[in-house]
Symmetry: D2
Subunit: 299 residues, 4 copies
């Protein structure tokens, strides 16, 4: 597909750029994850990226991590349809995410389990990264394999910058746990600062994309020898003409210094549920062995 045009070629170029990233020495690769990727059944692919160390760090919406925990605890996402009477679903306590269905009560159960875990911890102030690490450790004991358990095992940090904007945050209401999101900023900036080179893979845009780019900018202020992100990939269904950060081009990001003007970069306009299976499959075929950096000494 490298020899085609339009988004087909971009998709092939994305695989190429990712591969080059993986072959780069001394690089830290951060993934931004937004959209209802986990409910759409892509959780296993994200876990695969973690296991094969195709990413070193994950920045996610709270929703995706919550749905991942939901699955780890045995909750399901059902194949539904987008053509349906939602008032009827409501009457049956079924929540719809486009063509995916889920049981409302299971979400409440997942929320309660997170809350219970948080209340049992001794009072503390921590980053979202640290809380998710602790939760991953707990769930790894008897939950099913999932993103957070895999990330725990492979020591890949997960940040959720808008933690309170998700059912995970809600689970922590009335606990003694205090999520300090400025600490998340400090931690990811440390990661960016130590990295000789940086790569970014954005699934969608939103807070995760901005959070990663912001961290890069702060790291640049701290280390004058640093340039913007060196390898950048985005899969998005947004468009540049709307002016928002999610759909903004990597060219625009160059003006800010977020992305290096010499970066290898490609944006693919496609639903991630199409891109991720193809890209992961292509990367898998290459059998890359990568020695990945340990980013954070987790306690």
């Amino acid at each position: 597909m490298l020899k085609t045009g339009f988004q087909g070629r971009k998709l092939a170029e994305a695989v190429e750029v990712w591969r080059e990233m993986l072959e780069e020495k001394e690089i830290t690769i951060v993934m931004g994850l937004s959209g209802a990727i986990v409910p759409a059944g892509m959780g296993k692919i994200i876990s695969f990226f973690i296991k094969e160390r195709m990413i070193d760090c994950l920045v996610s919406t709270g929703g995706n991590i919550f749905h991942d925990i939901h699955e780890a605890l045995g909750g399901k996402h059902y194949l539904g349809t987008h053509n349906v009477d939602d008032a009827e679903l409501r009457a049956c306590d079924i929540d719809r995410i486009y063509d995916i269905f889920a049981e409302d009560k299971m979400f409440i159960y997942t929320e309660s389990i997170i809350g219970k875990f948080a209340r049992e911890l001794e009072p503390r102030t921590c980053s979202s990264r640290e809380f998710i690490y602790l939760l991953g450790k707990e769930i790894a004991k008897n939950g099913k394999e999932s993103i957070i358990t895999t990330a725990y095992e492979y020591k890949v940090p997960i940040f959720v910058p808008a933690f309170s904007d998700s059912s995970m945050g809600i689970g922590l209401l009335h606990s003694n746990l205090f999520i300090d999101q400025m600490k998340d900023v400090e931690e990811i900036v440390q990661i960016m600062r130590k990295a000789k080179n940086t790569g970014a893979v954005y699934i969608g845009g939103g807070v995760p994309k901005n959070f990663i780019q912001q961290a890069k900018l702060i790291a640049r202020h701290l280390r004058k020898d640093h340039r913007g992100i060196n390898y950048a990939i985005q899969f998005t269904t947004d468009s540049a003409q709307w002016g928002g950060l999610s759909g903004s081009t990597f060219e625009e990001a160059i003006s800010w210094g977020k992305v290096s003007k010499n970066a290898k970069k490609v944006q693919v306009y496609v639903d991630a549920t199409i891109a991720l299976p193809i890209v992961s499959h292509s990367l898998m075929e290459k059998k890359l062995k990568r020695k990945a950096p340990l980013l954070i000494k987790t306690k």
Copy 2:
């Protein structure tokens, strides 16, 4: 335009639904604001909504409030072009937001002013809402009229749920101020809980849309007599088929109980920079006098 089809009619319907909202007794209207709305010159319109009490509460991305403060402090957003060599802009320290330009050094200045203000406050833990209130009070002293000064004056609370994901958050690094985003959740839930009826106007989607809907859900758990949001409007350039929350239909939201099945609701697929001038102009012509609720006793 009510007698046309497609998005032209939806735009007219949005004005109708908003008008009905304003005539409803005992309603609390919350606006969600995402996308680079302020850099695009829409700040005055948001201030207008606040002044005329067409909204009672604002949930925003950090970016929009940061850019608003930037303008209040004398910073500019320049008319640029989207067809430009970004490496050249970079060399001139000019940041681009689609066809808007801004000086990087002025952003750094704004960030430093926020940081200075935060460091001068005595150590405290507060919600983003409270911090923005204090900052608005300060800037109202000699800054130019802006969203936060107008909101301060008219006692309209502003929430920024992903506070650390913006230059505002960055400004607070190394301060004694601690933003507790769970407190933001508690505060907005209180607002939702007290409201007999609720209206929501979403400019874009993102965290603000989710945060408002989440607050509604929690409020419903606390008050069993509550139903979902009664009036809902969204202006968006996203689409339902991508499965994300931003573009999801209000029908889908009914299945979750976020929106009442009897709600008056309309989604308009259009760039907000086109919709807002038209809608605000249409609402202005009606000369509505609305007695608005005081939502939060601000300290």
Copy 3:
């Protein structure tokens, strides 16, 4: 709105470019019309453009002209909804166009009237332009005001390059009338060739956009002193990244010589049902008096 950003500013720029076009001496302005613009209630606005001579020539899909005739003959387009059971509509013989409804039997009636008119003409070969002129003349006798009757009256030629791809074409099955679409090409090329300057206003893309650009290219081959189109406006909901002609940028058109590199040009990403009422209203306020060229001596 000229002092805003994103598509709001583009919309204001479109009005500016159109105004400059109207003030240009010796210019021929061609409009390309695609999408279900007439069913969406925009017919009156197109007629307004013709009457005020804001366009000199119209290139349209067959569908729009067919729906215009349907209205001229008393047919209706009803305000419907896009959330509906289509099998039920089918059972009631109601055709849906997003949120517009129409009676199937009235479409068949309109088709039969066109067929009857065609069969009563003496056998001939003509361009779509000529046939629509004759039909407009006929309908002007007792039909309601519409695009084709206004175009007839104001001597504005209408081309339908994909004539057989519409119910209008179907109406001509089994008639002695022969639509020669190469003659349409020749006629519009004559118009382009004689024009000192050319302006193009595209509502959507599709065949009309390509047909106009193609005519310009042929005219350039015939007159070496000619450059590409001088003023170009497009309202579209398509995007450049899909690679198609409809969403392609005017920059791309420069590489082909379709648009002059010095052209005043603007593309606005917006539903035409929003853009057209605003743009027509803004142009109306200027009270421009334009002496328009007579393009084709109609027989």
Copy 4:
């Protein structure tokens, strides 16, 4: 991917529906082809569909067939970039189609070859289908394998309903050949009428989609036992909310009777340059042997 959500699942469902179509006895499968599919390098895949008789009939924009002939005659489409100075390309006589480049002079050459062929034929009136058949026969003699030569060989008819709206049409200016597009309507209606079942695969929308649906409607009027299209697939980057035919849902098409209410149908929102390689690869793996109908006795 059948067990995922959003467009990833739709893509898998499209493969399923196509496979069922191929296993259906007595079915005629028509493909609609729009967008710059051939310049984007998809020509071989369309030829593959013809060879493996995964389609029985092709309705295309003129552009795609012209670009196919261009390639058959040795013309190239080069891998370019969408970030480029188009005035510079213009100065080099290079035409851009998003990220594909081509030499303008080769297009003129292709046009001249078509014109020469047409002028050498004895004067006649024919459908676009017949002309393309004759041209395919000629090019098959010594041109490279391409869509039209494959279609000639495998007796798959190709219709171009907006023939004059393409460089192919232009090639015929000043020839004695007369393309009668009503004859195209009659021919495809015959095909639809004879078909016990019908399947439609739309690559994009535009004239080809409308032309096929229109043919179905006429066929239904002629044979009262007929229902709408039984199997329908569309790959599109358009969206329903804009109200146009290209992006309209198959549900909407049910109201018109274009698509049967019991049809197996799926619309995938994705760039065809991504969908086609995946879908063709999946279908290839199944090794289906299909006995295809001979649709038109070609002369």
